[in-house]
């Protein structure tokens, strides 16, 4: 059952579809604050947020019927007796949401679609990583179908489903991350190969003097590269990344620094009218750097915490550097970059899903939010003839939607590192008691500070 407050809000959402977007956003926020994890209701929100009120209305009617049947006052805890009915509703709702998004994923002008669109972030033969999949609660034989309100509520109270006392964080085994990280490494290899192929397309366009084609090839290459988002930037990877995707602000000489190379150097040249022939050298060097990175990736080590942390940092980076236009001042392709970042995030989430299963409600929250962001990006792309608009081409409403859903996704993703902890926090060692002289010095420092404004 839905909590009463949530039920009322759902009612407003689907019965007042013409209210302003601000109102809708505020309402959804209220709903999230209620912190319930009923799948059917979440799906209603998903559908209503992506502006299909009629569809949401149908779902809502189903939920209402279910509510009427049960004369008991809705509570925040789902009684086990009504669980099967809710599961059916949940499945219906998810199917509806997936069907809707599926339709949104088919761009209007697909013949003109660029390769690196949301629709192609997962290969066509692979199942949608975000579709609801049943599995076991990680580390147990408990079906994930029992996951959700029941398990999350128990964990909030400090017990697991077997009734055992657990700490807020029951750490995972570090070895559990080997599989996910290997899977991500294989995925990264595929995207480096795509990027290498596109740098060659770029080289041909530059050599042929075709600026528009070169810009398109640049966009494709950059988007390919951003699919590597979760690769942790340290050591050799950081050095290679600086050469490929570094921005001039970090260099002492800024954009005229000789170390300014790679994607953003080519971007500057392409969008500022530099001669195309003068950019070929940067492209060739980038091919070399990408090949080198491919070798480095084979041996790059990531701790579980680093990998889990990347799951939210990719979109954090996109929000900070791409949606703000900071890293793409010339091409303004922040939407394209964000879509690539979302694809990388989805892949990380996909690899980590088995580990998340049954741990708090992170999996459900993240899936819902990613799904919504995915839908928004797809609808923006569809409205712009199957290609991502530049930041300057985004309509005001599209801009607000995108900003808002990225923020929403990040709010869910922030739970990932904590949920996937592999070690319990050890208390910070205490500072030994100060000597008399040290204590006197502290008092002196304090006295000085007191005299300050």
């Amino acid at each position: 059952m839905l909590p009463l407050g949530a039920w009322r809000i759902c009612h407003q959402l689907v019965t007042e579809p013409l209210r302003s977007c601000d109102w809708r956003e505020a309402t959804v926020n209220r709903l999230s604050r209620l912190h319930f994890c009923n799948r059917a209701a979440r799906a209603t929100v998903v559908v209503s947020r992506v502006c299909r009120p009629a569809c949401a209305r149908g779902l809502f009617a189903a939920i209402t019927r279910s509510r009427t049947k049960n004369s008991k006052l809705p509570s925040s805890r789902t009684p086990l007796a009504v669980k099967p009915a809710l599961l059916v509703l949940g499945a219906v709702a998810l199917l509806a949401a997936v069907a809707f998004l599926g339709s949104a994923l088919t761009p209007a002008g697909s013949s003109r679609a660029r390769r690196f669109s949301v629709a192609e972030t997962a290969s066509k033969s692979a199942p949608n990583p975000l579709a609801g999949r049943l599995s076991k609660v990680y580390g147990t034989n408990i079906p994930a179908s029992r996951y959700g309100t029941e398990v999350a509520d128990l964990e909030d109270e400090g017990t697991n489903i077997a009734g055992e006392q657990i700490s807020e964080l029951s750490p995972l085994r570090a070895a559990a991350f080997t599989g996910p990280e290997d899977a991500y490494r294989r995925y990264s290899e595929r995207w480096i190969a795509h990027a290498l192929a596109d740098t060659q397309t770029l080289e041909h366009a530059l050599a042929a003097g075709q600026r528009t084609a070169a810009m398109a090839a640049w966009e494709a290459t950059w988007s390919d590269y951003l699919h590597l988002g979760a690769v942790y930037l340290n050591g050799e990877v950081e050095i290679a990344n600086r050469a490929i995707d570094g921005t001039p602000g970090e260099l002492p000489g800024g954009s005229s620094d000789p170390r300014f190379t790679g994607l953003h150097r080519i971007e500057m040249g392409l969008w500022s009218g530099e001669s195309l022939a003068s950019l070929i050298g940067f492209d060739v060097r980038m091919q070399h750097d990408l090949a080198k990175l491919s070798g480095v990736l084979q041996r790059v080590e990531m701790t579980p915490l680093e990998y889990a942390t990347r799951s939210h940092e990719i979109l954090e980076d996109a929000q900070r550097d791409l949606l703000s236009g900071m890293d793409v001042p010339r091409s303004r392709q922040g939407v394209l970059g964000t879509a690539a970042g979302l694809a990388a995030t989805e892949e990380v989430f996909h690899t980590l899903e088995p580990l998340l299963s049954g741990r708090e409600n992170t999996e459900g929250e993240v899936r819902d939010e990613l799904l919504m962001l995915h839908g928004v990006l797809a609808s923006i792309r569809a409205r712009h003839d199957g290609r991502y608009p530049s930041l300057s081409q985004l309509g005001a409403f599209e801009r607000e939607q995108l900003n808002g859903y990225v923020a929403g996704a990040l709010s869910a993703l922030q739970e990932m590192p904590g949920t996937l902890e592999t070690k319990a926090r050890v208390p910070v060692p205490k500072l030994p008691a100060p000597s008399q002289a040290e204590e006197a010095a502290e008092r002196e420092a304090e006295k000085t500070a007191e005299g300050e404004p």
């Binding site: 970090e250 929000q319 900003n403 923020a407 709010s411 030994p432 502290e442």
Partner: protein, 427 residues
């Protein structure tokens, strides 16, 4: 700072204003009210607040002194930083502009009255503070950027030895329109309207000679305790300024802040100081999505108390020697890199006098908030730049982006009513 007697100030101001025929009744009334308030045995909270405000508005900081005000003096609640470029065609015009700047700054910082002019003329003062420009602890610190010492005015030989164009440090994203400048004005005051008024009037005084390049407004967080010594918080919610050197120790200030004779510095630079300004965007939403444990490890202090990790008191020495492996305070924690507290790094300490800033939202819908980092030091290379290079390794770099600022030199203060800041440059 010389706190002026409130009643005396208001009475005197009323007399002055009376002479110019403006607002006599209002000001005399205010003075009388202040007198009666002082004699009342019991005061309501509102009365006390009014009185405190009147005290603060009446407080003036001398403009003429060996060292410029706004460096070691009391850090006021509000600030405006304005960088100007000189468009003066020659040296003598530049001198006129700089002299005008000091003259107007002196009069505003000491409190003045808005004079009446011919009714057909534009008023000489915008008047937004009323008929009386209360001093309100106002300080105007005037500093020069490296670009002023290029060939335009023949000042190349006078350039302070350590004054250069601020370089890009790793992780910086400096925007040209928010960086460098020939002259920097640091306007600090108790109330926002005082700072706003001062900037408006100062720019008016140099119109046609100095033209604005960038500007940013700052504010101090309120001192919320728990003790009177507790430092204020920055917008990451951590206390800032805890390990500042003691400004009341003249010997220490000579070691760390003021340029001393010799050492290759031009004579005019003695008793001045290098001012570093860095406009640092803080990605507050990102920060808010980081676990408390990680936040505290990045800084090296507890967020609530400000005590170094493992300690209980904000002013406790973190005693890094007892923690060489970084088990208590990580080796890359901000406080550990900024001030390792060793004998070798003691002369690298700087005096921070920063302000929070909050300037709307960015394109991505995020709050554009951060820190106007302001530091004074005797030698940028030995002090600020060394610290900044160390800080390149801190984990906090992901959550901040330096976007502007510059290196400046704040010369000694003006010697008296006829003198002006920077006069030593043109002798």
């Amino acid at each position: 700072m010389s706190p002026l007697d409130r009643r005396q100030f208001l009475t005197r101001s009323a007399t002055l204003i009376g002479a110019s025929g403006i607002g006599v009744g209002a000001l005399a009334g205010a003075a009388a009210e202040a007198q009666s308030r002082a004699s009342a045995p019991a005061q309501s909270a509102a009365q006390q607040a009014r009185e405190t405000l009147a005290d603060e508005l009446a407080t003036r900081v001398p403009f003429d002194a060996a060292h410029q005000a706004g460096i070691l003096t009391h850090r006021q609640a509000q600030a405006s930083f304005v960088a100007l470029d000189s468009i003066a065609p020659d040296r003598s015009t530049l001198v006129t502009a700089l002299r005008n700047l000091s003259m107007r700054a002196r009069s505003l910082t000491q409190g003045d009255t808005v004079g009446a002019e011919e009714v057909d003329d534009p008023p000489p003062d915008s008047g937004i503070l009323g008929p009386l420009n209360a001093p309100d602890q106002l300080t105007v610190t005037i500093a020069f950027g490296a670009s002023l010492f290029d060939a335009r005015y023949g000042l190349q030989a006078m350039r302070p030895k350590g004054l250069e164009r601020m370089p890009n440090f790793p992780h910086d994203n400096l925007e040209a329109s928010r960086t460098h400048g020939d002259v920097l004005l640091s306007v600090c005051a108790g109330q926002r309207d005082t700072a706003t008024h001062t900037v408006r009037e100062l720019m008016r005084s140099v119109a046609g000679h100095l033209t604005p390049r960038w500007r940013i407004e700052g504010f101090q967080s309120a001192r919320r305790g728990p003790t009177p010594a507790s430092n204020t918080r920055n917008l990451f919610a951590f206390r800032d300024g805890t390990a500042n050197p003691d400004v009341n120790d003249p010997r220490l200030m000579d070691e760390l802040i003021w340029v001393q004779p010799g050492g290759g510095e031009p004579a005019w630079a003695v008793d001045g100081t290098y001012q570093v300004v860095r406009t640092i965007r803080m990605h507050v939403e990102f920060w808010d999505r980081v676990g408390m444990f990680e936040q505290q490890n990045m800084i090296g202090r507890y967020r609530v108390s400000g005590a170094p990790l493992g300690g209980t008191n904000e002013f406790e020495d973190p005693r890094y020697t007892l923690d060489p492996q970084g088990k208590r305070i990580p080796l890359l924690a901000h406080i550990r890199l900024a001030n390792p507290r060793t004998q070798q790094t003691a002369n690298q300490r700087i005096l921070r006098r920063g302000y929070n800033y909050d300037r709307g939202i960015d394109e991505a819908g995020n709050l554009d908030q951060g820190l106007v980092f302001v530091a004074f030091n005797q030698d940028i290379q030995r002090q600020f730049a060394t610290i900044q290079r160390r800080l390149g390794a801190e984990e906090m770099v992901d959550y901040i982006t330096p976007v502007g600022g510059g290196y400046f030199f704040a010369p000694r203060g003006a010697g008296g009513p006829g003198d002006w800041v920077g006069s030593g440059l043109f002798v």
